[in-house]
């Protein structure tokens, strides 16, 4: 089996996912095209050598609909021989795109692939693509559908995380992200979004609030309390986990992932293609896995998929130097650390989506790149990247430097 090697990684800065966000003026296709262009230009890549462009996108509708990857190929001026495919596994789409591309390479069918993701949450809107899951009773009922924030609160209640616990985690994420920016840890991968004249539109993640502390977080009201009570979702949570009397609503905008716009791309290929293109491999995609998990908790899939992946890769937790788990909600990370008794110092060392934002379909490839940069900076070897996923799933990938 061929090795799937990572040659390079780029991402956009993450723009606030609202109408006043800096990237709101930029079409989703352009965001994606931007990272495709950057990965081509800085590697002086002959795009005719690229076998596929695989992009994750969670709301592939409107301008991001159809096949946004093929659209981005045209916008970026890639060779017409480069096809594109858009995939969707909700929040893990970006990582699944990487795994999809890696699988093409590992199976020997493709030599060189660009994988990543794109999401313009400000332009398209979360949930805009609809879907049967929350509305069709034959899906909503067996999956114990509830808004993800209620599930995050269910995790906090079930596993004993208080409001202080989740707020403290959020404040630390902000601190770490600010520190990483200040120290230039992201500079290798973040490529500014520029206009057609070369003017910079955004060159820094704009969702961050480095001044965040426990006091400022304490002033925020829990976001999902009303929804849980009036919408019946608390009852759904409790029927799935009847040992709980009441749900403790602890999550709010300050300890949940930010809504942002952004795109990411990773260049993956086999050794021969790398040599031919004059590329130096940075890491190898060692193994990956997917799983369906208990849907009411919904966001504990990273625990299950990590167990599955370590077993299939015949590895143990101690083989992993750094963990990167998407900060969809603070309780997701706290539960992950609790389940594996992980030291906080090796998990999300440069902060995460609470501070930086979570551009749904792009995030998986972004955090994989972030942890790869960090492995190199610390001169460590192995990292595990994982994301929780709507409807109860988990995706995880292990990379190791070469």
């Amino acid at each position: 089996m061929a090795d799937a090697l990572i040659f390079d990684h780029v991402r956009t800065p993450r723009g606030r996912g609202k109408k006043d966000g800096s990237l709101h003026e930029v079409p989703a296709v352009r965001l994606a095209a931007g990272v495709l262009e950057e990965i081509r230009d800085r590697n002086t890549l002959d795009t005719a050598q690229v076998d596929d462009v695989v992009l994750g996108c969670v709301d592939p509708i409107g301008e991001a609909g159809g096949d946004v990857a093929r659209a981005a190929v045209f916008a970026a001026g890639y060779d017409q021989s480069v096809p594109g495919i858009q995939i969707n596994r909700f929040c893990a789409s970006g990582l699944d795109a990487v795994n999809f591309g890696a699988a093409q390479v590992m199976s020997g069918q493709h030599d060189l692939v660009v994988a990543g993701g794109v999401e313009s949450m400000s332009r398209i809107g979360i949930g805009a693509s609809g879907g049967a899951w929350p509305v069709d009773p034959q899906v909503a009922l067996p999956s114990y559908f509830m808004p993800q924030g209620v599930s995050a609160d269910l995790i906090a209640t079930k596993y004993g995380f208080t409001r202080d616990d989740v707020d403290a985690y959020a404040a630390e994420s902000q601190r770490r992200a600010a520190h990483a920016w200040d120290q230039g840890y992201f500079s290798r991968s973040v490529t500014p979004v520029k206009d057609i004249n070369g003017l910079t539109i955004l060159d820094r993640d704009e969702h961050m609030r480095p001044e965040t502390d426990m006091q400022s977080l304490a002033s925020l009201n829990a976001s999902f309390e009303m929804m849980g009570a009036m919408g019946g979702f608390d009852a759904v949570a409790i029927q799935a986990h009847p040992e709980l009397e009441k749900l403790r609503h602890v999550h709010h905008a300050g300890n949940s992932s930010g809504i942002v716009d952004g795109a990411s791309a990773i260049l993956i290929g086999n050794r021969r293609a790398g040599r031919k293109a004059g590329l130096t491999p940075r890491a190898r995609i060692k193994a990956f896995a997917n799983i369906g998990s208990e849907p009411a908790l919904m966001l504990t899939g990273p625990v299950d998929v990590t167990e599955k992946l370590l077993a299939s890769a015949k590895m143990s937790l101690s083989d992993i130097d750094l963990f990167e788990i998407n900060e969809a909600f603070a309780s997701v990370v706290l539960r992950y650390r609790q389940a594996f008794d992980l030291d906080a110092d090796i998990v999300n060392v440069n902060g995460g989506a609470i501070a930086l934002g979570h551009p749904l379909g792009a995030t998986g490839a972004m955090i994989l790149g972030t942890v790869l940069d960090e492995l190199e900076r610390r001169d460590l070897n192995t990292a595990l990247v994982t994301l929780c996923i709507g409807a109860g799933m988990g995706t995880a990938t292990i990379i190791e430097r070469v």
Binding site: L141, F145, Q239, E245
Partner: protein, 738 residues
């Protein structure tokens, strides 16, 4: 052409006056002959060029009670007979058979001529669906009209277009609630929901319908025209995504997903609203035929429709005693129960003498009726005149002499033998010889109370449930010497106040109290097993019970439970086996004075209307085990199996003699999981063999209280069903023979 159940006359203006008036029935119902008639009538209206439009009215004081459910029972029997040989053929038979009304109504709706329904009174189920299929509806002013789609209450759903038309006419939220709750609408409410177009005085109902036709009623429904928009827009829209996730969640909250009928409504509406009407109706029919086959629907139809009707009609009444005309009753004790009984009695038009120790206490009891009826007036459910009449019927007093001309006296004093003895003697001293004396005791054996009576033949138990005005069941208890006349009087009285009776023989706790105590006890046993308290409560509700067992224990009062346990212990002496239950109750009641709701602390802490589980429970029971140590399904089963098993024991002891009473009594009396059809249907549904096997498994795992009794073990040998061995018809014949 003539019709069996309808008349059709065409007036000078070409309007067909269709009057539904079934011979020999007090209320119109939809049966096969009605379907035949309607089918022919629609054809006639469509084809007869002289007819320009039609009014459908009723010749009876009510519009119609809806479909005759026995029709469906016959269809189901045919289905089950054919199923093993030809599954798809059987499915087709059921599908076609159960949608005939749908197709007739759709033909009416699309026949090209306008129909107006003139709704003069009660209009239920299939009749409401008929009205909705018409092109306009006018309802009678006042409170005569009661419009509902109550199918959900017997485990079904409105399967003749009801789900589709309601949701295309009404706003999504009230529409779905109307379907899922089976609630009854007044004419005004129906109009507010857009299910009725006009309201007119009863006398001008038909004239109004004719006027509407002359003014022009569109014979094409909005949804059969291009560009039709649902009241709240499409499902796949922002509004739909606001509504549907919560609708699904609230469905689960309210039903615990135990009711296929309710789920059928949700799914039919969800799918149907995305389709043109004909296909939407097909989809509705598919789900209807599916729900119709469910064991839940069969069990609910039997218990909550057939059996309940039979019991209400007096299935257990001795036939040879002529009906009693009850003019006046006496109530001893004007406390909460006595006051409630006074209210329901006066509401039924019967005079009440309400007696307590002194005038003040008696007046306080009457004030309860004032409160209830005033609230009804406020809500528009009663008039000021009703209130005046009702209150005038209640005479509060301390004077026993006023009982002299009462037909029946109901004693509702404190549960104390001595007090009960004294009031019995005082009442009997003035009562006319033929008057019946009833005790509303919930715990003391009637035969022993009857020892205070000089005429034990006339002494009976009439056990009401609290709150009296809401609870529909009354448990009649036959003492050893109670005579048939007393029974007839009790049943005639219960019929008069429009409640459902069950008749049981005397024993400690009778039927309902005895079984419900096992539910509470099982909750306590689970605490002792280390099940987390919240899990016990939630599993109780998920099993289908209205409240968790610990919550119920708090309501009943833990000190009372402790008293009962102590008394049983004393009665049994050395034979009593002490268990963890004694320790928990003793610790709660004796050491910690946690008596339940009444002193604001029990298994819950009470703070006004709010309550939360007492955090100190583990101090009493020990630290709970993790939830993962228990199976939710098994916990749910333990609750239902325990209660059903106790019912089987009561059957064996002949305290209960009628399967219908066991089932109906369990649902109406203590809310036993209605989707099972009741305690006995729960056993039959599983089969006595499987049930007995489950009892044995639980005996090994959870203790000897699950040991199956002899009756069950016997029946399990041939997997005999209770409804076979104790078939109601057979039972009646045996009783007649005896």
């Amino acid at each position: 052409m003539t019709y069996k159940n309808f008349t059709l006359d065409v007036d000078a203006d070409g309007i067909a006056h269709i009057v539904w008036d079934m011979a020999g029935k007090s209320m119109n119902v939809i049966d096969i002959t009605v379907m035949d008639d309607l089918d022919a009538i629609v054809d006639r209206v469509a084809e007869d060029e002289a007819i320009t439009g039609a009014v459908i009215a009723s010749g009876k004081p009510t519009f119609s009670g809806g479909a005759d459910l026995t029709m469906l029972e016959g269809l189901l029997r045919e289905f089950h007979g054919q199923r093993s040989k030809d599954p798809e053929g059987a499915a087709k038979l059921l599908f076609d058979g159960s949608r005939r009304l749908t197709l007739i109504f759709r033909k009416l709706e699309t026949c090209g001529k306008p129909f107006v329904a003139a709704i003069n009174g009660t209009c239920m189920g299939g009749a409401t669906e008929l009205a909705l299929a018409c092109h306009a509806r006018v309802a009678a002013e006042g409170d005569a009209v009661k419009m509902a789609l109550p199918e959900i209450k017997v485990g079904l759903f409105p399967g003749a277009g009801g789900t589709q038309r309601v949701m295309r006419m009404a706003e999504a939220q009230p529409g779905l609630q109307f379907l899922l709750q089976g609630r009854t609408l007044s004419a005004d409410k129906a109009k507010a929901m857009k299910l009725v177009d006009e309201i007119a005085p009863a006398k001008k109902l038909v004239a109004t319908a004719v006027r509407m036709l002359k003014d022009g009623v569109d014979p094409v429904k909005p949804w059969d025209k291009k560009g039709f928009k649902l009241p709240n827009g499409p499902i796949y829209s922002p509004a739909g995504f606001q509504f549907w996730p919560a609708a699904n969640a609230i469905y689960r909250r309210e039903t615990h997903d135990n009711y296929p009928g309710a789920r059928g409504i949700l799914q039919s509406v969800y799918e149907g609203l995305q389709l043109p009407m004909d296909q939407a109706l097909t989809v509705e029919s598919r789900y209807f035929a599916h729900v119709l086959q469910s064991p839940e629907a069969a069990a609910m139809i039997r218990s909550l429709f057939v059996s309940m009707q039979e019991l209400n009609k007096g299935a257990r009444r001795p036939e040879d005693i002529k009906p009693n005309k009850i003019r006046k009753i006496g109530i001893l004790g004007a406390g909460f129960m006595g006051a409630g009984i006074a209210y329901v009695t006066a509401k039924a038009g019967i005079d009440v003498v309400l007696i307590d120790r002194d005038q003040e206490a008696a007046d306080k009891g009457k004030a309860h009726s004032d409160q209830l009826v005033s609230k009804a007036v406020q809500r528009g459910r009663a008039t000021a005149e009703d209130k005046e009449q009702l209150l005038a019927r209640i005479t509060p007093t301390a004077d026993y002499d006023l009982l002299a001309d009462c037909d029946l006296v109901i004693e509702a004093v404190f549960e104390d033998r001595e007090i009960k003895r004294v009031v019995t003697e005082k009442a009997e001293a003035v009562l006319k010889p033929r008057a019946i004396y009833a005790s509303n005791t919930s715990t003391l054996p009637i035969s022993s109370l009857a020892e205070a009576s000089k005429r034990p033949k006339n002494f009976i138990g009439i056990h009401f449930f609290s709150p009296v005005d809401k609870m529909m069941l009354v448990e009649v208890i036959m003492g050893k010497k109670t005579g048939d006349k007393a029974l007839a009087m009790a049943l005639d009285y219960i019929k008069a106040i429009k409640k459902t009776p069950i008749v049981v023989n005397d024993s400690r706790g009778f039927y309902t109290s005895r079984v419900v105590m096992t539910y509470i006890r099982e909750g306590l046993m689970m605490l002792a097993d280390g099940v987390p308290a919240a899990m016990i409560e939630n599993c109780g509700r998920m099993a289908g019970m209205p409240v968790g067992p610990l919550s119920l224990g708090d309501e009943v009062a833990l000190d009372l439970a402790w008293k009962i346990v102590s008394a049983t212990r004393k009665d049994l002496g050395v034979k009593y086996v002490e268990g963890p239950l004694d320790n928990i109750l003793e610790e709660m009641v004796v050491k910690r004075e946690r008596f339940g709701r009444k002193n604001g602390k029990g298994f819950y802490d009470y703070d006004g209307r709010d309550k939360s589980l007492w955090p100190g429970i583990p101090e009493v029971t020990g630290k709970p085990k993790p939830a993962s140590a228990f199976s939710v399904e098994e916990l749910k089963q333990r609750f239902l199996v325990m209660q059903a098993l106790e019912t089987a024991r009561i059957f064996e002891e002949k305290c209960l003699t009628d399967v219908r009473e066991a089932d109906v009594g369990s649902i109406l009396g203590f809310g036993f999981a209605p989707f099972t059809g009741g305690t006995i249907s729960y056993i039959d549904g599983m089969g006595t063999a499987a049930f007995t096997e489950l009892c044995r498994k639980f005996t090994k795992k959870w203790g000897p209280r699950f040991k199956p009794n002899k009756l069950l073990r016997d029946m399990a040998k041939t997997d005999e069903r209770f409804y076979t061995r104790f078939a109601p018809e057979k039972n009646a014949e045996e009783q007649k023979a005896a």
